[in-house]
């Protein structure tokens, strides 16, 4: 077609031309979408449709609120990174998927739980034997085996410890472990001085005994070391992969850095990581480390789990982690059936959860499952024990604690979900007392007023000045909700006649104040690194004061310290439990903080992939998940019906508008 004829087609003496052209353009766009679109499914196709045996290829679709910064197991220390690392790497030990009260460790890459032997000078030796025949993922970095993943040995486990001590790796837990394995600190300092880490040099205290045996020699007892062995930091890493994926150009091609191209031994290997969009994992064909447990699940689940007990893992073939930063699209995709599970955010809470904290009828009808899980965390308000007013006045602290109505706070700010904290230990941690009643945490205003009078401030009045006693809470109010919460906290304490000043800080300033001790009251929270009481009571151990430690209250009790030192090196036993109760009693009596809550989260699962494990400390739990692909397909079709009438209506509307415009212009410009 010539330019002229094109012109005559598109540029006639038509006064409404500009209105028509975009309509055509839009129609072309819509048509293009209809032809290419295949509906509203946002996910790229799975790698395969069927397995080799003809059964359906099973893909899990999950969302991550952000892209992980690093998938290096020796570096990542956030739940986001661990969600993926836990699937790609296996640690020496792991948490049992069903046993959460108390939490229980089971072997993973290790053949059994580590054997504890007495060490020289009162220390301890942990001997870890690896399972034979376990392999890393296939990857081009294994040049010696032509890309086939090689067997995991104790050298790989020792290599993980060496990487922790390499200053270039920036391992965040080095400071914790080097206290017990001083060889790590020495290696770190040598490498820092030389500017290079010598990986040929063995680290004293991390001994390779034979091909499958590793010994950790601790200079002092530290039973909690076993929990670190269940975290990704100690996961064996192939040296070939770290050296191969160096982020440099080789033969015209830039290799990614190791932290963006993990090569592990987990149930899934990384197939694609499109930063800001998608992480695609595929089943590791040679995965042999664990099988589906044969016991430990609730009796009610017998019918579901009995048939898969002892089966090889993973039960699914592919996992898509879609990066969805905003809550609204995450919820929309779940509603459409394009995500298998999601949390319940505040925007949709009322439409999903009823007043009785049950699923609403609409979602019950869909077969959606609602789960309520307690985090192994405790939130509390720290009193500065070095403050001249608060630190020397126990009745004043007790009065503040007694006047704080946490039940009301939970009702207002967490839809009544959270559990009121009566003790520093959260549920599931050894030593947690289910029916424990903390006298200072029972809201009783009359009692609180008696206490404040006993503290020397009747009706909150400071006798020296004749004015209400003024206390300051340092806050970081970065959202309307946190502002409302700090107002609530202020009001709770002001019920005693005090004057509470809220001092707003930037997050960094707040951190500085906590470290320097320039505050009176400050909010804080702690999530368990591992489910041991030591990981919570150490928050009040006096040598653990900031800036090196986390005893932000600067609580210093010789009795507490003595009991803590005894308790922390003990294995779980009735004697240890007795000491834990004594520690708890001391904290209740001295009241260095107002205990607030243990957070509870709601989550939803689609009917085709009911949840397996509720263990919040287990990363990589998707290896136990099962998916009913046929049911998913059926429900997605049912929930995503595309009616044709809106398109017809739209075309009619556009046609009508054009017709009217033509009519109008002809009439007025004839």
């Amino acid at each position: 077609m010539s330019i002229k004829s094109l012109r005559s087609t598109f540029l006639p003496e038509n006064p409404i031309l500009p209105a028509i052209v975009p309509v055509r353009f839009s129609l072309v766009l819509v048509a293009l979408c209809l032809f290419t679109g295949c509906g509203n499914n946002p996910h790229p196709s799975p790698l395969r449709e069927k397995r080799e045996d003809g059964s359906p290829w099973k893909t899990a679709y999950r969302a991550l609120p952000d892209t992980p910064r690093s998938l290096d197991p020796q570096v990542s220390y956030d739940t986001l990174g661990h969600a993926v690392i836990g699937m790609v790497y296996e640690s020496l030990l792991q948490y049992h998927p069903f046993k959460t009260d108390p939490y229980e460790l089971t072997p993973c890459l290790a053949a059994s739980l580590p054997r504890r032997l007495p060490g020289p000078g009162g220390g301890a030796i942990y001997e870890i034997k690896l399972k034979a025949g376990l392999r890393f993922h296939d990857d081009p970095c294994f040049a010696a085996t032509g890309g086939k993943g090689r067997e995991i040995t104790s050298e790989d486990a020792a290599y993980a410890f060496k990487r922790m001590a390499d200053p270039k790796v920036e391992c965040p837990i080095l400071a914790v472990l080097q206290e017990y394995i001083p060889g790590l600190q020495k290696a770190y300092e040598q490498a820092k001085a030389k500017g290079n880490f010598d990986y040929q040099q063995p680290i004293p205290g991390v001994d390779v005994v034979d091909r499958l045996t590793l010994r950790l020699q601790l200079v002092k007892p530290y039973p909690q070391i076993v929990y670190w062995l269940a975290m990704p930091f100690t996961a064996p890493v192939p040296r070939e992969a770290v050296e191969y994926y160096d982020g440099r150009r080789h033969g015209g091609e830039t290799r990614p850095q190791f932290k963006f191209h993990p090569v592990g031994s987990g149930p899934f290997r990384l197939a694609e990581w499109n930063r800001n969009r998608l992480i695609r994992l595929v089943r590791h064909e040679d995965y042999r480390a664990t099988v589906f447990p044969s016991e430990g699940w609730p009796i009610a689940e017998n019918r579901r789990f009995q048939p898969v007990a002892g089966k090889p893992l993973p039960l699914i073939d592919e996992v898509h982690f879609t990066i969805i930063r905003e809550g609204i699209p995450r919820w929309l995709l779940f509603r459409q059936g394009y995500l298998d599970s999601t949390g319940v955010n505040k925007d949709v809470f009322n439409s999903v959860v009823s007043i009785g904290q049950e699923l609403t009828a609409k979602y019950r009808k869909r077969g959606v499952q609602l789960h309520k899980d307690t985090e192994p965390s405790t939130f509390y308000m720290v009193f500065n024990m070095e403050d001249p007013v608060l630190g020397r006045n126990r009745p004043l602290r007790q009065a503040l604690s007694t006047a704080y109505n946490e039940d009301l706070s939970i009702e207002i700010f967490s839809n009544g979900m959270d559990i009121k904290a009566e003790q520093i230990l959260p549920p599931g941690v050894f030593g947690y007392q289910r029916n424990f009643v903390n006298p200072c945490r029972q809201f009783n205003l009359a009692r609180a007023k008696e206490l404040i009078a006993a503290a020397g401030y009747p009706n909150g009045i400071d006798p020296k000045t004749g004015n209400p006693l003024e206390l300051t809470i340092d806050v970081t109010s970065d959202s309307p909700e946190s502002r409302q919460l700090t107002e609530f906290q202020k009001n709770q304490f002001e019920q005693l006649g005090l004057r509470i000043k809220l001092e707003e800080n930037l997050w960094s300033r707040q951190q500085d104040k906590m470290d320097s001790g320039h505050f009176q009251i400050i909010a804080y929270g702690w999530r368990a690194d591992y489910p041991d009481p030591e990981n919570f009571f150490f928050l009040f151990y006096s040598p653990n004061r900031p800036p090196q430690g986390n005893n932000h209250s600067r609580y210093a009790s010789p009795e507490f310290d003595r009991l803590f030192e005894k308790m922390r090196t003990m294995e779980n036993s009735p004697e240890r439990l007795k000491i834990i109760h004594q520690l708890n009693a001391l904290l209740v009596e001295d009241c260095p903080c107002v205990l607030l809550s243990h957070p509870v989260y709601f989550s939803l699962n689609q009917p085709w992939c009911p949840r397996v494990s509720s263990n919040p400390l287990l990363s990589g739990g998707l290896k136990y998940a099962e998916i009913d692909s046929a049911l998913r397909q059926e429900r997605q079709a049912e929930w995503n019906h595309s009616p044709h009438w809106p398109l017809g209506f739209l075309l009619l509307l556009i046609g009508g508008a054009i017709g009217y415009a033509v009519f109008w212009t002809r009439r007025h410009h004839a």
């Binding site: 003496e13 006064p15 409404i16 031309l17 500009p18 209105a19 052209v21 975009p22 353009f25 839009s26 766009l29 293009l32 979408c33 290419t36 679109g37 295949c38 509906g39 509203n40 946002p42 996910h43 790229p44 952000d66 910064r69 690093s70 220390y77 920036e170 391992c171 965040p172 080095l174 400071a175 982020g247 850095q257 932290k259 963006f260 499109n274 930063r275 800001n276 969009r277 879609t322 969805i324 930063r325 905003e326 699209p329 929309l332 995709l333 509603r335 459409q336 930037l506 997050w507 960094s508 951190q511 090196q548 595309s642 009616p643 809106p646 415009a661 109008w664 212009t665 007025h668 410009h669």
Partner: protein
């Protein structure tokens, strides 16, 4: 005077405009650097990236590796060059377009920007073209039917469209097109040939419609200004039809201002759309910026602000050049 002819005047004008860039860009860099320290100290950033439980040594190591432990402006330590400070390193690296690596992930930022530019352009360019097409057509139509009830209704619709924030369009679009009718995905992106259109259609249409009200009103006023000019009266006196006057005279003359506006926005297109990219999961530069702000990735923020300011200034410069090219009076001012 260095230049004397008309071409020289233009060149002189151009050079003057380019020289203005330096103090402006320096000011932007100084403000960004200072604001960064007001909002977030490097230590707080390290804690945010390494996790609040990160030991002090890990934090110190992290700061040292990135040069955040150097003095802010001048190094007064004995034996150290005075310009061995964070600010001068920052100025130097940006001036030579060495963006370094992301503080959060350690990825080279040049790679990150290259990766984000295409998805951003895939959203912003079609949005701009579609929006331009719709708004010019609509505004011309309103000019054609000016002072009638249709014109009044059209302007009213434009005001209504302008009154809603883009978030409302996003929510409405996702609800209507993705949830209720299931025509297009509510979220996602996949750069795979023609199927990419499926992911782009909804955000592109939303962006075009969201800007329709304001743009139509602006273009309508441009065309109305033209239609009251003397040459239009002359054309009418010569017996030209209203359609011919509108499309052959008014449209062409109005196009000059219109092109100037469009050219000004062109360089900025590469920076993407913060809201749309974030809500539709488009892995472009807008999304990258939001993420960098959220995660306190100062290396990304400073590079984005620097690039953004350069592109913005470039847009303004192009506008000035366009104006000067079409209107000689500006060159002589």
């Amino acid at each position: 005077m260095l230049f004397s002819g008309p071409g020289d005047i233009m060149l002189n004008y151009l050079l003057r405009r380019i020289l203005y860039l330096f103090p402006i860009v320096f000011g932007v860099m100084l403000i960004t650097f200072s604001l960064f320290y007001v909002v977030q100290s490097p230590r707080a950033m390290a804690l945010q990236i390494l996790g609040p439980k990160a030991p002090k040594e890990a934090v110190a190591n992290w700061l040292h590796n990135r040069g955040y432990d150097k003095p802010l402006f001048f190094n007064t330590a004995p034996g150290k060059p005075p310009l061995d400070s964070q600010f001068f390193h920052y100025i130097k690296s940006l001036a030579i377009f060495d963006f370094g690596v992301s503080d959060a992930t350690g990825e080279p930022l040049t790679e990150v920007f290259k990766r984000g530019a295409i998805p951003s352009l895939l959203i912003t360019l079609p949005s701009m073209l579609l929006g331009l097409f719709l708004s010019v057509s609509f505004s011309l139509f309103l000019v054609l039917v000016r002072k009638s009830l249709i014109d009044l209704t059209g302007v009213f619709i434009c005001v209504v469209l302008m009154s809603f924030p883009i978030m409302d369009y996003v929510i409405l679009g996702q609800w209507l097109i993705a949830i209720k009718t299931s025509y297009l995905p509510a979220f996602g992106f996949n750069l795979e040939g023609i199927t990419t259109a499926k992911y782009l259609a909804l955000p592109v249409c939303i962006a075009a419609v969201a800007g329709l009200g304001a743009e139509t009103r602006l273009y309508r006023s441009i065309f109305l200004e033209e239609i009251n000019q003397d040459y239009v009266r002359t054309a009418k006196a010569k017996g030209a039809s209203p359609n011919r006057i509108l499309f052959s005279h008014v449209f062409k003359n109005g196009l000059i201002s219109l092109i100037t506006l469009v050219v000004a926005s062109l360089p900025f297109l590469i920076m993407g759309s913060l809201v749309l990219e974030s809500f539709f999961g488009i892995p472009g530069l807008g999304n990258l910026t939001i993420t960098a702000i959220r995660t306190s990735d100062f290396a990304v923020v400073r590079a984005v602000v620097y690039l953004g300011s350069l592109l913005y200034i470039l847009g303004l410069l192009l506008t000035d050049i366009c104006y000067a090219a079409v209107d000689p009076r500006i060159r002589f001012q």
